[in-house]
Structures are given as C-alpha cells and as structure tokens.
Amino acid sequence: MPAPSSGRHYRICKPTAHDRGTVALDVNVLLILLASVVTSAVGALGGLGGAVLLVPFLVVIGMPVAEAAPIGLVSVATLSIAAGPTHLRYRVVNHRLGLTTEVASSAGAIVGALVSEGLDDQLLVYVLAAVSLTAAFAGGRRKGVRNLPDPALGSAAIGERVGTLAGAYPLNGGVVPYRAIRLKRGLGLMGISGLIAGMAGVSGGFVKTPATSEVMHVPTKVAAATTTFTIGVTAASALAVFAVQGRIDPEAAAASIAGSLVGSMLGVRFQMRLVPSTVRLGLSILLVLVAIVLVVS
C-alpha cells in the first residue's frame, strides 16, 4: 500500500508521533480517534453507521473531502466486520441478495472513488451536505414490520432459497417468508449508493437499507443485516482504489479503525436502553445541522 504523496496535507498540523520517533499520540490522530469513537457510537445508535458524521466532522475541522473519504470508508469497513457476527448469529443475512445488489454498489463505488480525486472540493462538500440531508430524511422515515410470520412454516424453513432472491427469517417465535421484487430499480439505487460511498466516504447504507426494504420489499431486519454485510464490500472496493491512488493516510486510518471498533461496541450496548424512534429523530436533527454547518463553513 503506497504512502500518501508528500504534496498532500493529511494532517491538520505537524509533526506527528512517527516523525518525532517517540511513543506518543499526535494531537490530530487523537482527535480522529475520539471523533471515530463518538460518531460510531452515535451512528450505531441510529443504525446509520458513523461515517456519515465522521466525514463531515473531518471536513469542518479542515480536511478536504477527497482526503477525509478514505478515513470514512475505513470506519465503514470496520463497522461491517464488527457487526457481522451478531447478524450472522440471528441468520438474517441473505448472501445471495447481498452479492446481487453489491455488483451495482461496488461498480458505483469504484467510479465514485476514481472521479473524486479530480473533482473540486467545494462540489464534494455540497455532495456531502446533500448526503447528510438524505440520511436525515431516510432515518426519520424508516418503517416498522411489514411482513408477518407464516404459521405453516417451521424453523427448518429459516434461510435463503437456492437459485432465488427469496428466503425466510425468524421473528417473535414465528418464521417470516419473503421474496425480493423490483430488482432493476433496486440495482439502480444500489449503484447510486455506491457512487455516494466512493465520492463522499460514507457507507450509503441509509440508501441501501430503505431501497432493499421499501423498493424490493425485503423485511427491514433482513435488509439492514444484508446491508451491513454489503457496505463492507462497497467500502473495500473504494478503499482498494484509494490505496492504489495513495490516498490513505495509515496513521489517520488506524485511528479511525480503533475508534470505530470501540464506538460501535458502545453504541450497540446503549442502543438496547433507548427508544429507537427517539434516537432516529435525534440523529435526523443532528444530520440536518451537519448539512447546514458544511454549507455555511
């Protein structure tokens, strides 16, 4: 993985701990670490992930969007890995659906990552502000349970169906069958979510989960769990491009990884004690404020 080129300004000030050759945390790395803890915890509370807050924060404190995006995507990939075991335990991830939708998302993410290097930073800030507003809207509108358990189905029916985008998942002691519909429209939205991820460094999960749930009629629980699997792949696709371009600052990205892991664990722990609708409303208001701050600053 190549190091960032010397002409870039990845840090808000210098020198770093590595430059000094001492065992000490650089103040900017510490800031990214703490920001990753807080944004991942708050993001996990609202089910949106932390990057949608982390990237705007980095931009507001002076980092260009093109350089903050890889740090955001590192946070997304970390969250996908950290949340994976819980979703897999409840058998709600549909891998066939994930692979299918991810072809469009990854293609979008790669295009977004390739073009973002040459785009004007002010344009990327506006894209990020629009993303924050979309996330605020999507989070506030999320619906509850649509599909109901089928009494004819037993626990043996839980799982994906071979050769199709159908399946069944456990809910309140019953088993709920489902089948993804409107695949073309869903793939189009996945491509857009990938493009957003590649350009702005946020997960795009706030587009993917509602698209899978509301457009493709997959139950929200399955949609959210499958999205957690796929956002990791989207982030990895864009990160591979960023690595080739030499746009990943190892120190800042490492701070984001450590902070995101701690933050997502804290967020999930507190999530159980809070009312989901209140959390989502609070996060939506916060994202609107983020969009305003981005445009004004």
């Binding site: 050769g163 371009q245 490492a254 892991l261």
Partner: protein, 94 residues
C-alpha cells in the same frame, strides 16, 4: 424451493478475530514510532479492506459447492468488478 445451507454462522468467530486483530494492530499503528507504527497501521487497513472481499470469496465458494451456478456467476462478477476497478486505477495512476 430448497433451503440453502449457507448461513454464514461459521464466519462469526473469524470476523471477531479480525476485529480484535485490527484493533490491536491499529493501536500499535497510532502509538509505535517510526516504521513499526506505519507497518502496523497498514496491516490494520489491509485487514479491514481484505476481509469483506474474502467474505465474498467464501460465499461464492459455498454457492459453488451447493451447485447454485446462477449466484456463483454473480459472485464472480462482483469479484471481477472489484478487480477491474483496481486495474483501472493502476492504469490511470501509472
């Protein structure tokens, strides 16, 4: 319709190990001085970048064992898309 044997449950302990491994590597990366710190940070980045793609490889392999050719093709198409993206970025940056 046949219920698939792919649940992903066996991935869980492996993902937990990667999470803890990348955490340790990242902490070394931000605290250790010089080359050791940079290498540890790069290892942490490599772990979180490669793991999601390995999950795709694993699912595609399981689909192949299950004989689901349709979704094996989808898995290969996804890995091909990522490979094409990386190749394109290498060509553009070179």
């Amino acid at each position: 319709m046949t219920v698939s044997s792919i649940t992903g449950v066996r991935q869980a302990p492996w993902l937990r190990s990667v999470a803890w491994g990348s955490m340790v590597s990242a902490l070394v990366g931000i605290t250790a001085p010089g080359r050791v710190g940079v290498l540890a940070a790069q290892l942490a980045i490599a772990m979180v970048t490669v793991t999601p793609l390995l999950r795709v490889v694993w699912v595609t392999y399981r689909l192949a064992r299950e004989g689901d050719r349709r979704f094996v093709t989808v898995g290969i198409a996804l890995l091909g898309t990522v490979g094409l993206g990386v190749t394109t970025s290498i060509l553009l940056s070179g």
